[in-house]
């Protein structure tokens, strides 16, 4: 059974927005004797020892905190699946086809600046890893794919990635404009032909 003083201390510490010393708590409680306050604090701390909340003293000031072993309970992960962005997919493909590559090389192949966040995303997902540094001026970091990458994309090795010849045969290397025209139906635009010929 907790004493009235313990109850009052409990409430005061709970509502306080910063840790409180025994002195200031005693002042709060209509100037209760300091010795009694300290004793009550120790009794309270003992009561909470095996509970989900602990009463702890740090640098002479007391506060409640959640039990350290429960920290993982107080954090919930919410997973959210999103489609990898076009830029990230391109970077991943370049790393896969050219590994190991530096960021500068990825950019030169893509022809576009690549934000550093893009490689971070790929590394966080576990598809790309840092594969060391290139022995070249500036010793740039180089990147490569991981086994998890092969797993996820159903490849047994990087050699399974279709080569350039196959890409071409599949129409995947056609310049964008031509591919567009293919889609729109070839030569179906006689006006356009005439327009070319003046």
């Amino acid at each position: 059974m907790s004493t009235d003083l313990e109850r009052a201390l409990e409430a005061a510490l709970f509502a306080a927005d910063e840790p409180m010393s025994a002195e200031s708590l005693a002042g709060f409680l209509r100037d209760a004797p300091l010795g009694e306050v300290e004793e009550a604090l120790r009794a309270l701390a003992e009561h909470y020892e095996r509970r989900g909340i602990h009463l702890v003293e740090r640098a002479g000031r007391w506060h409640f905190e959640t039990a350290p072993d429960l920290a993982h309970f107080l954090r919930r992960e919410r997973e959210q699946v999103r489609k990898l962005s076009r830029a990230a997919t391109e970077v991943l493909a370049i790393v896969a086809y050219h590994e190991p590559v530096s960021r500068a090389e990825v950019e030169s192949i893509r022809g576009v600046q690549t934000s550093s966040g893009t490689l971070d995303v790929l590394m966080e997902e576990g598809w790309v890893r840092i594969a060391g540094r290139r022995e070249a001026p500036g010793r740039p970091t180089i990147y490569a794919t991981t086994p998890a990458f092969l797993d996820h994309f159903g490849l047994s090795s990087r050699r399974d990635l279709p080569g350039l010849a196959e890409l071409r045969a599949a129409g995947l290397l056609d310049p964008v404009e031509e591919a567009y025209e293919d889609l729109m139906g070839e030569g179906s635009d006689p006006d356009r032909e005439d327009a070319d010929e003046v």
Binding site: D4, R7, A8, A11, F14, A15, A16, D17, E18, L29, R30, E65, T66, L74, R75, R76, E77, R78, E79, Q80, V81, R82, K83, L84, R86, A88, T89, E90, L92, A93, I94, A96, Y97, I109, R110, G111, V121, E125, H152, F153, G154, L155, L161, P162, L164, L167, A170, L172, L173, D174, P175, V176, A179, E197, V198
Partner: protein, 274 residues
């Protein structure tokens, strides 16, 4: 809220339970201390019904057994005195006064001379309204007297908050990967410009052809007549352009004259006789 609660008192609950009524009563007492106070607190009432309710409470009886007639008298007296003091009364107080004066006269009339609705009905309904307002006023006081967060009970001073970590899983498939590579390669492949071979008439051959044909006649000839007669359309366009430039060149050299009668009209050409 009473200040008499002791720090460790056990009877706090009971005390608080009666606070609602106390507050309502206290306010009524404050308000109704003297007649003088009545006038001075004119702004304190929220309309005539509020004033009537306070007057009714003065009768110190259950709202269900108040005397409407004496309530009407009190109200009318109050309004009269307020007017005597030249206090400005809001219109709704005067409207209520007029209505109550009517009610009073109706209540004093013999019943058989009354119109519908009867004075008794009006009086009863007024009483019911006062009861309802009184009930809500009391309920409000009891509500305000409850243990309120931030006044009587307090929440944790500085909660850590529960953390929800949002983790994103990325989705991508093999085709999207390969397609992306194709896209990159296609986008960045060195551009090779191929010029298709096309049937053309060069300026030189047009110059030869036009000057040769000019030698044949002195008459004006249309530019089109210098073109190869059976040329396919694309060659014909090229020949037209080259022959036009050739004609300009010959004119510049003084070997031919050019004429065009109207804008976009036929362009005619003839040899300059020497």
């Amino acid at each position: 809220m009473s200040d008499t609660l002791s720090l460790f008192g056990d009877n706090a609950e009971e005390q608080r339970a009666s606070d609602g009524q106390e507050i309502a009563d206290e306010r009524a007492n404050d308000r109704l201390g003297t007649d003088e106070a009545l006038y001075l607190e004119l702004d304190g009432w929220e309309g005539p019904l509020d004033l009537l309710l306070d007057l009714a409470r003065r009768q110190k009886v259950d709202l269900r057994s108040i005397s409407i007639l004496s309530l009407v008298d009190q109200y009318l007296t109050y309004i009269d005195e307020a007017e005597a003091l030249k206090l400005e009364l809001a219109a709704d107080y005067l409207v209520m006064a007029a209505w109550l004066a009517y009610l009073k006269s109706a209540l004093l009339l013999p019943k058989d001379e009354q119109e519908e609705p009867s004075a008794e009905e009006l009086a009863l309904k007024l009483q019911l309204r006062l009861q309802r307002l009184g009930a809500m006023r009391e309920a409000a006081a009891r509500l305000m007297a409850r243990d309120r967060i931030g006044r009587d009970v307090f929440l944790r001073g500085r909660p850590e908050g529960l953390e929800i970590a949002h983790k994103t899983r990325w989705r991508c498939d093999q085709f999207a990967l390969i397609e992306a590579y194709g896209r990159v390669k296609a986008r960045t492949a060195p551009a090779v410009h191929m010029v298709r071979e096309r049937p053309v008439m060069t300026l030189d051959s047009a110059l030869d052809r036009v000057s040769a044909m000019l030698g044949v006649t002195l008459d004006w000839m249309r530019l089109e007549e210098f073109l190869p007669p059976h040329a396919e359309p694309r060659l014909r366009k090229s020949a037209l352009a080259s022959s036009f430039v050739a004609a300009l060149e010959l004119a510049r050299l003084g070997r031919a004259e050019l004429a065009q009668d109207e804008v976009f009209g036929p362009l005619r050409l003839r040899r300059v006789a020497r």
